[in-house]
Amino acid sequence: MTKSTILSIIVAVGIIGLALWFSGSSGKGGAEVGALNTTINGDKQYIDIVAKGGYSPKVINAKAGIPLVVKMNTANTFDCSAFVVIPSINYRGTLQKDGTTEIPIPAQPAGTTLRGSCGMGMYGFAINFI
């Protein structure tokens, strides 16, 4: 009996693994590791992210020690990406359907990585503070 169960569970896990591998290899708009991609203006830094069917860029390298403003840009965004969750700073917010929504993020020490995802978890982004 259990042979078939185990087999199916292995396959299910295998499919998940495949999905992981698939999604991991697509670094669309990902920044080079180490290069800042925020714009510093005064005592704050800014980054523009397009939120629609995922987030682009997915990796943000920000400067440590100064506050960051994430500008989420939407245009007819109806999918999950319109709901942003950043668990470690307790942020849960809804983006407007069209336009720009700003998410203020307090200054973080170097080496911190904040991970955000959409409201149901299928799209993610990461902010590295360096």
Partner: protein, 339 residues
Amino acid sequence: MNTYRFHVHGMHCKSCSVLIENDLKESVGVRNLHVNYEKKELDVSGDFGGIAPEKIAELFTKKIEQHGYSVSLEKERRAKAKLSDFNLAIPFALAFMAAFILLQKTGIVSFGASGTMTLGTVFIIGLIASVSTCMAVVGGLLLSMSATYAKEGQGLRPQAMFHIGRLISFFILGGVIGALGTAFQLSGTAHLLIGVVIAFIMIILGLNLLDVPFVEKLQLTLPAGLSKKVFRHAKGSQVFAPFLLGAATFFLPCGFTQSMQLYSLTTGSYLNGAMTMLVFALGTLPVLSLLSFGSVSINKSKYAGVFFKTVGIVVIAFALYNFLNTLVVAGIIAPVFSF
């Protein structure tokens, strides 16, 4: 006076034996009748006036086939050719999942709609939602439910009830949102809880569809005594349970559904909100019906075993996918998927 032993097909819970006993014990000639759920056997004694046992099995089947059961002299057929089904089910499941992943990679969710929202746009958003990652939640749950009902041999009714429940609740609750101007939003804890419960249900149903004996023992069955009472009054479990499940999909975590709810609240009137949510649900209907009515039609074919095992694997994979995503949102693990 003769005594016969028949094999019963299509029983899925203890209450089935009660239902069958109730339906058959009034038959002509029957003196004593007992259905054994564990062994899937029916023992009957009585005066049948020399009718052949094959004929009795036929007569009994006629009385209970409306509930999806049948009676025969031979043992259950499905016991055979079990493992070999996986030879086809595994590649099918892989192909389905690969197609699903590729569909997400085409960026179908990033379709370009014009600025103004019309009911036509809302319908298209519904269509897109039904093939998006929302499928993993609503579609996965529906698929597991449909295939489970279909496997029990039940007809179109529970499937239809699910869709009717979904459409009605989207209309009514959409109107409520429009009229009140407040959207329904899950708290972080509620989201986590619902996510875990749904994943658990889907895994149980998925394992069930794989038709492996040890899960059947795990099945949550109503005590026979309680079932007797319930079944005497109503054969409603095929109607209300799917109806409620369909209605509850309004609250399931799906980005598109929530976006539409947010849009409905800006419409500012009961009718506009109701229409928006109804048209959105209608947009998701073609794909969702395909999932549920497909399960029913394939049940009679000889590939039923392969089909249910394929669905079982897909449902389990969806359940794991949903479960991991739920943990991501709760901040327990880092995001793992990104299509």
